[in-house]
């Protein structure tokens, strides 16, 4: 498609070419008059060459045709006439015509090549400078500035960056506000992620290319480039060049971003380690005095003076129970740090499920003394292959919760049953129950039901720890409740292998 502008340009070039031919003709005329030169048609190649170099192919061809005509006039007999007498002279002129045509074409393409080469050289230089800036960039702001300047030099128009966070767009505030409404709409589209790149006419004849700085990462912002009044056919090419520039820049931004993320992570993990070391040492420091307190209380309660006074005995009991509770909380803290450092390595062995239940209950005999405890344990349960210590701690936690969240005197039922391929250890209480929402959040780290936060102490770690211990042994914990104040049943499901793989022992003698 050739526009009116192109036609006008070619006409103007042709006119100039004709003027050059005319000047040449004047010179030739002067020469033939004074020196009787009869062989000089080659001189008409000069305007062809000049036109081809400076004006393009069509003016060069126009110059060639005009040159042939004037050569015929001056250099071929009959002289000073456009008429040619001999056939070989016609051939001569045709040859001239061909030479002129080739010359004009060569001149024109050489000119084009030179221009392209020069442009390439500049672009390469720019790109090299740009790469060097990227390589040396130590902050995102450096990179954004480099992008902006490099692209601006590439398209020779305005480049505006958006949402680059690090102050790269601070200077650009005035540029941003100067943009037309239609450009703003397009930028909003890209920022919202509806498209990665788009072009828009700003209403004043300029085409704007708008795209994300990085195709992968929306965090690196959006760039708007004024392409000027480029023909639509050229947009694709500009777009490719912009892509090249931005892919380098985005890679550098990502490198910086990764470095920053790594740095953050390192700082976070150091903080985490410090926190855990602190919990570890504080817990250890607390345990020694606790051992003294608890031990001393048990000695006191046995002494003759105190043993005969029930009030004093119960006081000694309070000291002991509270020390015991505190010890439990400390154990939970230690377990929680072990879990978050992924230091749970189950030492699995075959175990009788009832041993886990009995062991947990025995340890809590004092704490459970206020409740009516009933046991429902199947005899001949299959053996399970778990870490008995971890499962006992998890089960004990559930028993503790039942005792804690049900009124004194109320019954607690502990059961160990076989259910399909699971052995299920469960604890049922008739206490505060669970709302659907509480049940959903149960077992989250630090979760405590809002209904009891004020009345019952706790860290919200217990069930989270229990879950981690049971999961580490391939089991799961489930809680069921008909609702608030309807009681709760919490159960640990532990898979046992098929009965065929139950352990066997050789004959007894």
């Amino acid at each position: 498609m050739v526009g009116m502008g192109a036609v006008r340009r070619e006409l103007r070039g042709s006119a100039i070419a004709l003027v050059m031919v005319a000047v040449t003709t004047l010179v030739v005329y002067a020469l033939t008059q004074s020196l009787e030169v009869r062989r000089g048609s080659v001189i008409y190649l000069l305007p062809v060459l000049l036109a081809g170099w400076h004006l393009g192919l069509i003016p060069a061809l126009v110059a060639a045709v005009a040159g042939v005509l004037w050569s015929g006039y001056f250099f071929f007999s009959p002289y000073y006439s456009f008429y040619l007498a001999r056939p070989n002279e016609i051939l001569n002129l045709v040859l001239f015509m061909v030479v002129a045509g080739v010359t004009s074409h060569l001149a024109n393409s050489m000119k084009t090549q030179t221009e392209i080469a020069r442009k390439r050289e500049k672009e390469m230089g720019d790109l090299y400078a740009f790469s060097r800036r990227l390589a040396g960039a130590s902050s995102a702001a450096d990179i954004y500035l480099a992008i902006q300047e490099h692209l601006a030099s590439l398209v020779q128009r305005k480049v505006v960056l958006f949402g680059t966070g690090d102050g790269g767009d601070r200077d650009a505030k005035s540029d941003q506000s100067a943009l037309s409404q239609r450009v703003h709409v397009a930028i909003a589209e890209v920022q919202a992620g509806r498209t990665l790149a788009t072009t828009v006419d700003d209403g004043a004849g300029d085409i704007w290319l708008i795209r994300r700085v990085s195709q992968k990462n929306a965090d690196f912002g959006v760039i708007a480039i004024d392409l000027g009044s480029v023909p639509p056919s050229d947009i694709e090419e500009v777009r490719k060049r912009v892509d090249d520039v931005l892919s380098d820049a985005a890679a550098t931004l990502e490198r910086l971003d990764v470095a920053r993320a790594l740095n953050d992570a390192k700082m976070r993990s150091e903080t985490e380690l410090l926190r855990e070391a602190l919990i570890g040492s504080v817990s250890h420091e607390l345990r020694t005095p606790l051992a003294s307190i608890l031990g001393a209380a048990t000695v006191l309660s046995k002494s003759a003076v105190i043993a005969k006074d029930e009030r004093l005995t119960s006081l000694a009991g309070v000291v002991r129970d509270e020390a015991d509770r505190l010890n439990n909380d400390i154990q939970n803290l230690l377990d929680a740090t072990r879990i978050s450092r992924e230091q749970i390595r189950p030492r699995q062995e075959w175990i009788e499920p009832q041993d886990i239940v009995n062991s947990a209950l025995e340890r809590r005999r004092r704490r459970l003394s206020a409740h009516t405890l009933s046991l429902d344990v199947d005899s001949n349960l299959p053996f399970i292959y778990v870490d008995p210590v971890l499962v006992e701690q998890a089960f004990g936690q559930i028993v503790d919760n039942a005792a804690k969240y049900s009124p004194p005197g109320s019954p607690i039922t502990v059961a160990a049953k076989r259910n399909g391929r699971d052995v299920v250890l469960s604890v049922h209480d008739e206490g505060v129950g669970l709302t659907a929402q509480e049940n959903a959040q149960l077992g989250e780290r630090f979760f405590r039901g809002a209904r009891h936060a004020a009345t019952t102490s706790g860290s919200g770690l217990g069930l989270w720890i229990a879950k981690a211990f049971v999961t580490a042994n391939g089991g799961k914990i489930e809680a069921a409740s008909a609702g608030a104040d309807q009681g709760t049943t919490v159960s640990i499901h532990l898979p046992f292998a098929t009965p065929a793989s139950q352990p066997e022992v050789g004959p007894d003698e």
Partner: protein, 240 residues
């Protein structure tokens, strides 16, 4: 302090722990000797051979395990270790190197005394050759190889008897899986814990009133088994 009172050597670097141990042990009729360090403990053990050692593992100068090892080189004195929770592997290791039992910090005095008396009782039994071990209603006549509950004979297979015999010899103290497996089935079966589970289940069905809630043959999770001596059943210190 009466010369007849059994001597207990308390090895712990924490002064408050030593204080309540001293009070509790003296109330129970022991004469208490304190040691703050491992070196101190070894010196006192040779200077004035105790009837019982209570050994804390965290000592300033050496590991409690090392004190135990060096003591066991020449002495079979009953020894109870004060341990921390959730380290079953360490408990087993200490029991294997000759500790008679352990209590987990924090512990009550009654628990410690029960373990201590059981360990001392075994010591006396070994030296006097006393043939019958009584654990609540259960009586095990080690000489006649007869087991009775409330006087009624209980029939056991040879391996069941061997298992019960080993537990009875350590009545009141924990016996590790490894020890039982080695003694009953031999070294190749050191890790076949499931043999024990199966035989203990059979034994419980014969000696327990309710095998699902054992009162005599208890499981120490991750460590071993213990025949329970009812509290107050054996007052060695008082009797001596």
């Amino acid at each position: 302090m009466n010369e007849a009172n059994p001597v207990v050597l308390v090895v712990d670097d924490e002064v408050q722990i030593r204080r309540f141990l001293r009070a509790g042990l003296e109330l129970d009729g022991f004469a208490v000797q304190d040691a703050e360090t491992g070196a101190d403990a070894l010196r006192w053990a040779t200077l004035k051979p105790p009837d019982l050692v209570i050994l804390d593992l965290g000592l300033p100068d050496m590991d409690g395990a090392e004190v135990l090892e060096r003591l066991r080189a020449w002495s079979s004195v009953p020894l109870i270790v004060l341990s921390v929770r959730s380290n079953e592997a360490e408990k087993v290791r200490l029991l294997e190197s000759g500790a008679d039992d352990y209590v987990v910090k924090p512990f009550g005095m009654a628990e410690l005394l029960a373990r201590a008396h059981a360990a001392m009782r075994r010591h006396v039994r070994v030296s006097t050759g006393e043939p019958v071990v009584k654990v609540g209603p259960l009586a095990i006549d080690l000489a006649a190889r007869i087991v009775t509950i409330n006087g009624a004979r209980v029939m056991l297979t040879p391996k069941e008897y061997r298992l019960l015999q080993l537990l009875a010899q350590h009545a009141g103290n924990v016996v590790t899986h490894q020890f039982l497996l080695k003694e009953v089935w031999g070294s190749p079966h050191l890790h076949d814990t499931h043999y024990l589970r199966i035989f203990v289940r059979k034994l419980r069905q014969k000696i327990e009133v309710d095998p699902t809630q054992p009162r005599i043959l208890l499981t120490e999770l991750g460590v071993g088994y213990r025949l329970v001596v009812p509290e107050g059943a054996s007052q060695v210190a008082a009797a001596n």
